[in-house]
Structure formats: C-alpha cells, structure tokens
Assembly symmetry: C2
Homo-oligomer: 496 residues x 2
C-alpha cells in the first residue's frame, strides 16, 4: 500500500488531478479537485473550523489574495523569501540547489545556507546534472518565490500573490481587535490559497505552486504567556515532542513548560490543541510528532518553531508549522505603514505590540495524508478491494442513496429521500448506477460511511437497507425514520 | 435607507472593508471579509450549493486559479477580453473610455464598440477629463483585463490568473464526464475567485478586481434542448422576462419556449431554477428580472444571453449572467489542445460536441444585494435601530448565546451550550459583552435570527430566554431542550 495506489485511485475517481491536463505545456504544481475530492477538501476545512476555531473562539476572516508590495517589504518576503537555484551550463536545466545536493549526496543541507556554501558543496560532492550528467554548473543564486502581479492599466501598482494567507490577518488585526470588541489572547484564522513559485513541485499535493492553507495567528501579551485560562484542560496532556537531536518523547504540557522545552503555557496549550485536532481527524498518536527546528531550519520570521509532522507512506510530512513569530510582523507593518498597531489591556498603563504564535496548516497536505492513512486494500466480500477507512466527518458524503432501477417510479422516492436528508444537513450522493455489490464497492472506495439501498421490499413496507462501510453490517430501517437515524449517527448521538 | 448606511454598517462591524487598508498606496478593488461577513459569504455559497447544485444533481469541482496561456488563446480571452481605455494628454489620468462617455453624455455606449467610434464620441460630446478638465485625449486603445503571471524560475511558462472560474470546468469536462459516469445534461459547478484588472473598480463589492464567482456550466445535447426530464415542474412557472426593447412581463416557461422568446426548454428550465433560487434567498419577485442582452451587449462567447438582475438601492444590479455559449468553449479547447472532446450517447452512432448553457453568479454581488435588501432602520423597542432582516440561512450565525456575567460559573454553562449547539450543526456566536438590550441590538444588526440569554432564573430552573430577531418575541425554554428546538427551527420543522 503506497502512494502510487492512492494517486491511481485519485486519478481514476477524479479526487484530484493535474490542472489543465489536456494541454501538454501546462506548468506542473497546479492541481484540481473533482466532485469527490472537493467535498473532502471542504469537509477537512469545516472540521478544522468546528473542532479548533469554534471551540477556541477564534475569529475567521477572508482576505484578498493579491497584496501590494509594501506588505511584503514589511513582512521581509521581498528580501528573504528565496530558494537557492543553480543552472546546468551544458543543458540549461534549473534545479533547487539544496535539493540537488541532498538527492545526490544524502547530506542534509540546512535552509539558511549561503550560495557560496552551496557552490562549495556541489564541487565537494561532484554533483552531476540529473539530466545531462554534466558537472558544469553556474554559481548558485537566490530566486524569490513570490509571484508578481501588476495592477492598473499602466501597471502602476506592483503587487504579489500572497505566499502565505497570514499577512491579511496581520494587516486586519487592529481593525478586528477593535470592531469585534476582542481581548487577548485573540486567535484570527483564515483558510485559502497561497502561491509559491516552487522550482521543483513534486509529490502531487505535497509540494504545489498553488496550495491551500488554514492558518491561525494567536495574538497575545508576551507578559502573560504563562496565564492561560483553560490551562487545566491540557496540563497533563502529553505532546509527542522531538527536541533537537533527540528521539520523540511523550511529555506533558506542564513538564514541557516547567523544563523550558517550550517557551510558555500558551505555546504548550496550542500545540496540545493541534495534536488533539489531528487525533480527532483520525491520525493515530504514534504517527504524530512535534519536531523542534534548529536555528538554520527556521523561517526567517520565527524565533521558536515546531513542525507538526505525520508519518504516512511518503515518510514524515510537515502538516503544520507552529511558529512563535513574536512581534516581528506587527512591528514590521507598523513601521512600513507608519500606523501604530498596539494594544492596551484593562488596568495597564502602557500600550504594547502583541506577540504572535501561529498554527499554519496545509489544507492539501492534510487531505493527502488523511487519504494516505485511510487507504486500505483487503479482502472485502468475495475479493480484495481498496477502500478509504476515513473519519466519517471527512468523507465526501455521509451517505449514498441507491434507487431501485425499474419503471415503478421508485427513483423519485430515492430522490425525495436524498433531498430530505440534505435538508437535515446530511450530505448525500445519489443516482449511481450498477449492481448493488459494485455500488457498495464504489461507495466504500471513496470512504462514504453509510449506504441506503431501496429495493423490491421497499415497495411493500417502505423500508430500506442501511449499510455501514467499515463493518459492512446491514440493517433494515423504515424510510421515514432514516433522516433522524442518520442525523443521530452523524452527530454521534447513536452508533450503528 | 441607502447604500451609504450599509457600507457604514459593514465598516463598523467589519463585515467587509478594503484590503491592506493600513497602507495608503494599496490598489482599489480588493476587499476583505471580517468574521461576520465571512460567515455570511460562506452561508450564501452553501445555500447555492444546497438549493441549486444538490437539487439539480450538479457536480462541483475546485480548480487552480492560475492557468496557462494556451487556455486563454483557446477561450478567446487573449484576443477579446479587453476594456477600451483612454488617457488624458494633459494630466495623464486613465479612464475606461465607454464609462467616461456615458458619465459625461448620458449616452448608452454598447460593449462591442470600436476604438475609432469611441474617439468619435469623445469628440462629438466634447468630453472633458474629470480631473483636469482638458479635452485633449490620446486615441482610445484596448486594454486586456487579464492579470499575467510567470511560472518557473526563468519565467518560461506564461500564465494568467483566471478571469472567470468556468475555464477549469471546460478543461475538466471530458475527465469528469467519464470518471463520474455522468450523462447529459450534466451541470458542473465551481465557486471561487476570479481576477480582472478593472480600470475603474467601484461600488465596493459590486465591481472589484478580485471577486467571487459561483458558476454552473450545463453541458447538453443541442438536439435534446427540448427534452428536459423535470420540465413539468417549471412549465407553468412564470419568469420575469424583459425582452429587448420591452418592459418586464411574467411569462410562463411553456409560453417563453412556445413563443420562441427562449431557444428551448433547457434554457427556460434553468432560468426558472435561477429565479427560484433567489426567491429562496429572500429576494421579492417584483425586484427581479431576466434582461435579454442585445448583440452588441453580449460577451464574445455568447449566442444567447439573459442577465438576471435584482433591484436594490444601487439600482438594477446584474447578479447572474445566463449565457448560451453553444459549442464555443469545447470546440476552442479541442482545437488548441488537439484533443477530441466529444460525447456519444446511448443509441447514438455519432459523437458530438456538447453545447453549454451557463449560470454565472457573482458571490460578492449576491451578498451585497442580499444585505442591501435586508437592511432596515426602524423603531425597535425604545429607539430607531438598524437591523438586517436576513434569511436565517444566510445569517452569520443562526443563534447567539449570551452568558450571565457573574462569578457563579454560568459562563461555563453558556460555553457548554454553545458547544453542544455547534455539534448539532447550529452556528453560534458567544461571549459578547454588554447589557442585554445592547447585545440584542448588536445581534439584530448583523441579522442573527435567534438569541439565547442565560440569567439569574437559569440558576434556579436551568431555563433560558429564546428570542426571535424579526418579531422580537421571547419565550422561556429549558436549556436541555434548546439544541433540538433550534435544530427544528433551522430545518423548518417548527416555527417560533
């Protein structure tokens, strides 16, 4: 069971597939989601919204994707958001220098390495061009990964597609803080697309040029980093921490703060919420870790950074960057825009710049890893079949309704049922054709938890077969009782 | 009650506001949604999804926003997606030529006018530069409104931000049709951002440079335009049709087809579904019309076009472009990509290129118009107050829970209730502060249908006050019964 099987399934059922694939010259690193994939993608975001944002009272905004250059001068992206690239002098192929060296030498190359050091490593390891085998490379150079866009008919306003969704959160903080009558700590979130001109997009959804992020920026008073209202709820909860140069250990939040592994309760609290969120998504605890980043691995704005990683068939994949950005962002924007961005708390005499702890999650990566972990191939009924053993809340549809295909008008009954279910907030797929066994297999393959089949019995007693994906168990239910039965299953008020 | 009041409310409550507003040099035409606006925006899209897509069994995809140049060569946008612009020779100000003439002369200028004709009209009406009053303009020229983006480190792949979301639908049609085992007519939908480098963005959300679209492309067999399965459901339904040069008349779908006002049942059927969708959103019938576009008003790809317009305080606003694009798009992409895109139906011997009828709705425009129509200012209690008399399904939250603010731990009870409601699929806003009257007023102002207040009585009998926004009626309900009571109100299973 590997990623190849999953990608095959994705292409066969149009869960995800390359963008503009009918054109042979389409750039790589752009993906589309078909009906099933789009439903899953939306569910994964909704889950984050319900299980993290709502429970923590975070506020969600929706900002523009194009932002003016000043924003990225202030944020440091204009100067620092670069990838080192190197070009083969013989065949003109272009590579990300650090990846090229790592692939060829297996030596770990840190993110903050200089171009001169990269040139030296290329020489030292006698790196060859993977395409033409030449060892003759031009000197490495930095390439800014943002995508510029000119706005206005004379191209007068230089803008960029945002490389991270969080910049609008920083820009909007002052307004949201005031108009929403908020107090610190305040979490502001956003889900949407970000754009990075990657040199070498790869691994389908894991490194794309246009990709989804769901980010939370938590604004807090640095003096109160150890005064967290609901600390008691997580103090004894154990984080899978992987400190620099050490193995993963389960450490309670309280211990992690007491032993100064983490800089304060606030950091421990939200790392706990991250780990708990992914437990709820359905990721087993042993497959998660919070990996501490070394100085030269951290993004340029982070003073403390933990990558939340999940192990799947692609190895350990970073799903969330948890960064203590301190006052880097608000300070930068205040300076560049010449607007004061400060907060005064009740009883305090002095205004201060809030610090920021961020939980920056990848949407497509989360979806990919959840699919990878849910992918099972085993004997189901007479033959071996692939199916997605997915958390019902991430399934593309909560139920499928299969009509009786004859001339008696039963189709209409199935449609009416499907409509009633959807009015009750239960997602439903309908009108798939084929034999019952094939329909179940096709529904299982995309992870639909419950299937409802109308058949000849239905004509006599207005009942239907309700089947559970994971157990393949079936029971007979009156059609009139199905909306409530499914609603109870969906909200966890009953079990099958 | 005018748009100024609404924009004031939007800014005061951060429903929507200009993007990157702390920077004085930010380009206009970019907007952000705060927590309340974002919730409404999401609800408006979900409503479209549930009431149109789900009921019509349309499939929804999610495509990349950046597409390669070949796509727009095939689509005709490279050649035809232009605005006429004209520059003042004295002060260098730039204008959209047709708007400048219309503003100055009140003469209607058709979309397809040539630049030479525009120059002639500028002379004829002695148009002055609004800024410096000079009459000296350079000759008008066409300006392509797409935003170019270069992909790859050497800028080798020329791409564009999509000017309409539908292009990915055309590109993906062949794959979706096959892998989803679909049959014609097949509706494929997408909701997402589009980008147009407007010369003169204006009226906040009504003409922005980055804006949301929710589009449906219906692929059909042109020979079967008069064979629609559920035709009986709409045949007698009356459309508010405004034919060229005529007043609006209510015409039944059957009559519109019989009298050849519309080209076939399929067109009438989906126009009916559009009008019904907006009836459900809460728009009164007399405020809607379907306006036929003249040859020179239609987009370059449309052979038959009806604009669905709604009257609000900004006048008649186009919310949905309903275009019969015929085989224009699939033919163009098949030719440019050299891939055959054809369909063979059961029993047919020959494959054919499906035709397309599109329902292209604006998300931000829909939201703006719904807010504008819902905005009321009237005596509510002791004073005149503004409130949004919004369809509960578009309200940012279905309910607000107000805790008792004292030291008895009641806050926790409110939080537990809010969490239980949200687990039952009921959106809830909590922890607003202030007096009861002010809280109600603030909740009414953003259109929340139901408010729950915990008070000193709650301590005795575990009950709470449930208040309805529109009627301001209140009743007492046991806290334990609230989730079911609200779920019934939300799903229409009971009334207040």
């Amino acid at each position: 069971m590997g990623s190849e099987d999953l990608v095959n399934l994705a292409l066969r059922r149009s869960i995800f597939y390359p963008s503009a694939e009918i054109y042979s010259n389409s750039p790589s690193g752009f993906w589309e989601f078909g009906p099933i994939g789009e439903a899953m993608r939306r569910k994964a975001i909704d889950f984050w919204r319900r299980e993290l944002l709502q429970k923590e009272s975070f506020l969600e905004i929706f900002g523009a994707q194009i932002l003016p250059e000043s924003v990225f001068r202030a944020s440091g992206h204009l100067e620092n958001f670069n990838d080192p690239i190197v070009q083969c002098r013989k065949c003109a192929s272009l590579y990300r220098a650090d990846k090229l060296i790592m692939d060829s030498s297996k030596e770990l190359v840190p993110e903050s390495i200089s171009t001169a050091e990269l040139d030296a490593l290329i020489k030292k390891h006698e790196v060859k061009c993977p395409k033409c085998k030449s060892k003759d490379f031009a000197t490495a150079r930095k390439f800014n990964m943002m995508m510029p866009v000119s706005i206005g008919a004379t191209g007068d306003v230089q803008c960029y597609l945002r490389p991270e969704t969080c910049q609008s959160i920083f820009l909007d903080f002052d307004r949201i803080f005031k108009t929403c009558r908020a107090k610190l700590p305040l979490g502001i979130a956003q889900a949407g697309a970000s754009f990075r001109n990657e040199i070498a997009p790869r691994n389908t959804l894991l490194r794309a040029r246009e990709f989804g992020q769901m980010e939370v920026e938590i604004f807090f008073n640095p003096k109160k980093i150890n005064s967290i209202e609901r600390w008691g709820e997580v103090a004894e909860y154990k984080l899978n921490l992987m400190q620099l140069g050490k193995d993963v250990r389960a450490v309670s939040c309280a211990d992690a703060v007491a032993k100064k592994i983490l800089s304060g309760q606030l950091v421990a609290y939200y790392l706990a919420r991250v780990q708990q969120l992914y437990e709820k998504y359905g990721v087993p605890l042993p497959k998660m870790r919070l990996r501490e980043l070394a100085d030269n691995e951290r993004a340029f704005y982070a003073k403390e950074a933990w990558d939340f990683e999940v192990e799947c068939s692609e190895g350990w994949v970073e799903l969330i960057a948890c960064n203590n950005r301190a006052d880097y962002d608000l300070k930068g924007h205040a300076k560049e825009s010449k607007k004061e961005i400060k907060v005064k708390e009740e009883g305090d005499s002095e205004a201060f710049i809030p610090h920021i702890f961020e939980l920056s999650a990848g949407i497509d990566r989360t979806l990919y890893v959840l699919l990878d972990l849910a992918y099972k191939k085993e004997k189901r009924g007479p033959e071996e079949r692939a199916y997605l053993d997915l958390n019902p809340k991430i399934a593309p549809y909560f139920s499928a309704v299969f009509p009786l295909v004859n001339k008696e008008g039963i189709d209409e009954r199935a449609k009416a049922l499907a409509n009633e279910l959807s009015q009750c907030g239960i997602d439903v797929l309908h009108d798939d054709r084929g034999s019952i066994g094939k329909r179940y297999a096709r529904a299982d393959e995309i992870g639909i938890p419950y299937a409802i089949t109308l058949d000849f019995e239905t004509l006599k007693d207005a009942s239907a077969t309700l089947r559970e994906r994971s157990s393949m168990k079936q029971r007979r239910v009156k059609i009139a009782e199905l909306p409530e039965a499914l609603w109870k299953l969906q909200t966890g008020k009953s079990e099958f």
